[in-house]
């Protein structure tokens, strides 16, 4: 009888995690960026509203851009920590999955 190949437990754990990673990032980034916006006093009302709409309407990219170029009051280190590793992980998962697809 033939043996049916399996990619192993690690693959399953990784793919389960990687499916939820974008959701995790989305639900982290959105409230954090809006929370930060709400605390700011340097922004005009219009600018604040525009950013809020942008974050709400464009998932991921909205808050990502806010953290990277929106002059968030979080420390640079915290902003990088929130965004860069997540993005790198998403890209790594995509590459891994594409390369290992059968």
């Amino acid at each position: 009888m033939e043996t049916i190949k399996s990619p192993g437990i690690l693959f399953y754990v990784l793919s389960f995690y990687s499916y939820y990673l974008p959701i995790i990032l989305y639900i982290l980034w959105t409230p954090l960026s809006i929370y930060d916006l709400g605390k700011r006093e340097d922004l005009s009302k219009v600018n604040g509203a525009v950013w809020t709409f942008f974050i709400i309407l464009v998932p991921w990219l909205g808050s990502l851009l806010y953290f990277l170029v929106g002059k968030s009051k979080f420390s640079t280190y915290s902003r990088m920590l929130l965004t860069i590793p997540g993005m790198i992980l998403v890209i790594l998962f995509a590459v891994y999955s594409t390369l290992t697809s059968t």
Binding site: I9, Y12, S15, I24, S78, G86, T98
Partner: protein, 661 residues
């Protein structure tokens, strides 16, 4: 139901969803996926009556009849009494027996057979490579040509059984018009059993006889041009054969399957019709490679249009119509038959529509599949191409795991070039918790579940591991639990609608009188010539012209009971909501909590991001500056809600017992 604490614990753990996946990892068929043999005890017959198992294999006797039964070896070396602890195995219970030695083990039910195993409810387990020694089952030689001899019923022989018993391999048994109240057992190979008129040659079980025609280990038997109705089990049943052919058969209102090929290879079922079965209209199971083709059939008003457990390998389902069942086409993997997982079935040019029939008959396990067109239930390497799949309340074409003793995952399936519209929750769908290698390409559809399925799980090039969406899986689980709790009323097969007259065998085919030898090779041309059934284009056009061409991800699983919706909220949405709440509050607290050092700040953000749930829960409970009341409610309250659902599910499965079918 016996309440025994060990068995409850055993069930609790065997059904613990994620532990199963991550530790057992049985789903995709790693290593030795042997399954075990399932012998069903009906009233009063064992199915299959002759069954093979590898040496050391386990055989599970399950009573799904209404009477008490048991299984006792004729030489008294084993019995279900010894393994079950009681002479009576009641309805719904099962007893396992293992066979460490090679040999033929005849057995009987002490309530319904003679103790020499000769008369009544008797069976054989063949352990290892043995053949039957019983004279009735000695295999005569298969012949590939008609002998020229025709035996007519009732003019020459009063009953079909009488003609079959007198026949030699290669004879034609021609049954005239009439209603024949028989259950026929065929043990002579190469017979051709044919009715003179498909609609008027009727075998009737009157809801008391088991099988219309049971072909027991006799190769190359062809059954043609007759109707089978009202049997308590199957219309036509081939078991343990090489070579079978069903042509112009009508099977309706039978208590298990319409046409049933089990542990059989090299077959063809064509131009046939099956309706009103509480399992599937047409079934090909436990074979690899099956070398079989289903071509130009109609299957409706069954629980499942097609079901194939642990079958595959050169198995083709072509140019057929599957409608008004719970589920149109459902290849599936289960532990309760040998040769798991289900694999390599090709589903091509079928018309699959309106499989939402709440009034279809069912046993138990079938109901959760309602509202689906084509579902690969824990199968691997199947191809689903060029089908038209319309109007299903849940999913058009889906690949989902199947839960039995183990959780079977659907991997490496290809869904390509299908036209799928009007599915309530997703035209094409992939269900979590995990799977790999499934791909979706060039289908014409409106909405996928999860979204962007084709873009992220295409067959070539870029692939994101986008495989863990639990919404369809939770939906299935919710129905499974509700069925086990007895929330849905089962409908009987006995009063399903009778089919209209079906086309009888045309003259040019009547002239062809051949035993079923080399059926797969002979009918390979069907694979190349396959095309949509004639009805497909008009039905698609009508459908497209109507306004129902949309799906919505917001629709609840059908049937949308309060429990179904609660399952979705607590099982699917709650975990995501909890993660958001726990992680969000933790990270905000880290940013504003002055009492934590800068360095440990950064470490904590990493921990919370990379260790879902545990990281943020630990931070919340240990370091957060939020009020105790809020923290404890969101952590312990959230866990309790989720655990509540989990315990309810497991209790539901334990109380109901594993479905016998």
């Amino acid at each position: 139901m016996k309440w025994d604490i060990t068995s409850i614990f055993k069930k609790f753990f065997t059904h613990f969803f994620f532990i199963l996946v991550l530790i057992g990892c049985g789903g995709d068929g790693t290593g030795s996926e042997e399954g075990f043999l399932h012998v069903k005890m009906f009233d009063n017959v064992f199915i299959p009556p002759i069954a093979s198992t590898p040496v050391g294999g386990k055989v599970r006797f399950v009573n799904i009849g209404g009477n008490p039964h048991n299984a006792i070896s004729v030489d008294k070396s084993w019995s279900t009494e010894k393994s079950y602890g009681n002479i009576v195995v009641p309805h719904g219970a099962h007893a396992d027996v293992t066979y460490p030695e090679e040999g033929d083990f005849p057995y009987y039910c002490s309530f319904h057979a003679s103790s020499d195993g000769k008369v009544g409810m008797v069976g054989h387990i063949l352990s290892g490579n043995v053949i039957l020694t019983e004279s009735q089952a000695v295999k005569k030689d298969v012949v590939s040509q008609w002998t020229g001899k025709t035996r007519k019923v009732p003019s020459e022989y009063p009953t079909i059984q009488n003609a079959v018993d007198s026949a030699f391999p290669g004879d034609l048994i021609l049954v005239s018009e009439g209603i024949f109240k028989e259950d026929v057992t065929v043990t002579t190979p190469s017979l051709i059993l044919r009715g003179v008129d498909r609609n008027k040659t009727i075998l009737d079980g009157e809801f008391i006889r088991a099988n219309g025609i049971m072909v027991l280990g006799a190769d190359a038997v062809s059954v043609e041009n007759m109707t089978f109705r009202n049997y308590t089990l199957n219309g036509v049943y081939w078991t343990g054969v090489k070579g079978y052919h069903g042509n112009y058969i009508t099977a309706h209102n039978n208590g298990d399957y319409g046409m049933y090929a089990f542990d059989s290879v090299d077959g063809l079922i064509e131009n046939s019709y099956a309706s009103g079965s509480p399992d599937s209209g047409i079934y090909i199971g436990q074979c690899y490679p099956c070398d079989a083709i289903i071509y130009n059939v109609i299957s409706e008003n069954n629980a499942l249009g097609y079901s194939g457990t642990n079958s595959g390998g050169n198995l083709f389902i072509l140019s057929s119509i599957w409608r008004n069942n719970f589920l149109g086409i459902g290849p599936n993997s289960l532990d309760r038959e040998l040769l798991p997982p289900e694999r390599e079935t090709t589903i091509l040019y079928n018309l699959v529509y309106n499989n939402n029939n709440m009034n279809a008959p069912s046993h138990k396990l079938e109901f959760p599949s309602i509202g689906n067109g084509i579902a690969i239930l824990g199968g691997i390497r199947n191809r689903i191409e060029k089908n038209i799949v319309l109007n299903h309340k849940n999913y058009g074409i889906s690949v989902v795991p199947n839960l039995d003793e183990r959780l079977w995952l659907g991997n490496n399936n290809i869904v390509k070039n299908n036209i799928v519209f009007g599915s309530g929750r997703g035209d094409i769908a992939l269900g979590g918790p995990v799977s790999y290698g499934n791909c979706f390409e060039e289908n014409i559809y409106n909405y996928s579940s999860p979204v962007l399925l084709e873009e992220l799980q295409g067959c070539d090039g870029f692939r994101f591991p986008y495989t863990a969406d639990l919404s369809s899986t939770i939906g299935l689980l919710s129905l499974f639990v509700q069925v086990n709790m007895g929330d849905f009323e089962k409908v009987s097969y006995k009063n399903q609608p009778k089919p209209s007259e079906q086309n009888t065998m045309p003259l040019e085919i009547l002239k062809r009188i051949e035993p079923a030898v080399g059926m797969f090779e002979k009918s390979r041309k069907y694979i190349d010539e396959a095309d949509y059934p004639l009805d497909a284009k008009p039905i698609l056009d009508t459908y497209l012209a109507s306004s129902k061409t949309y799906s919505s991800p917001l629709r609840p699983q059908y049937p949308a009971t309060i429990k179904t919706i609660l399952f979705h909220i607590l099982g699917y949405l709650l975990p995501i909501g909890l993660y958001a709440a726990w992680a969000g509050t933790s990270i905000l607290d880290i940013f504003f909590n002055k009492s934590i050092s800068k360095t440990s700040n950064k470490i904590w953000i990493f921990v919370i991001l990379l260790i879902p749930y545990l990281g943020s829960a630990y931070y919340n409970l240990k370091y957060s500056s939020l009020s105790k009341n809020v923290r404890y409610t969101q952590i312990y309250g959230g866990i309790l809600l989720f655990l509540g659902l989990l315990i309810y599910s497991i209790l539901g499965i334990v109380i109901g017992g594993l479905p016998a079918q």
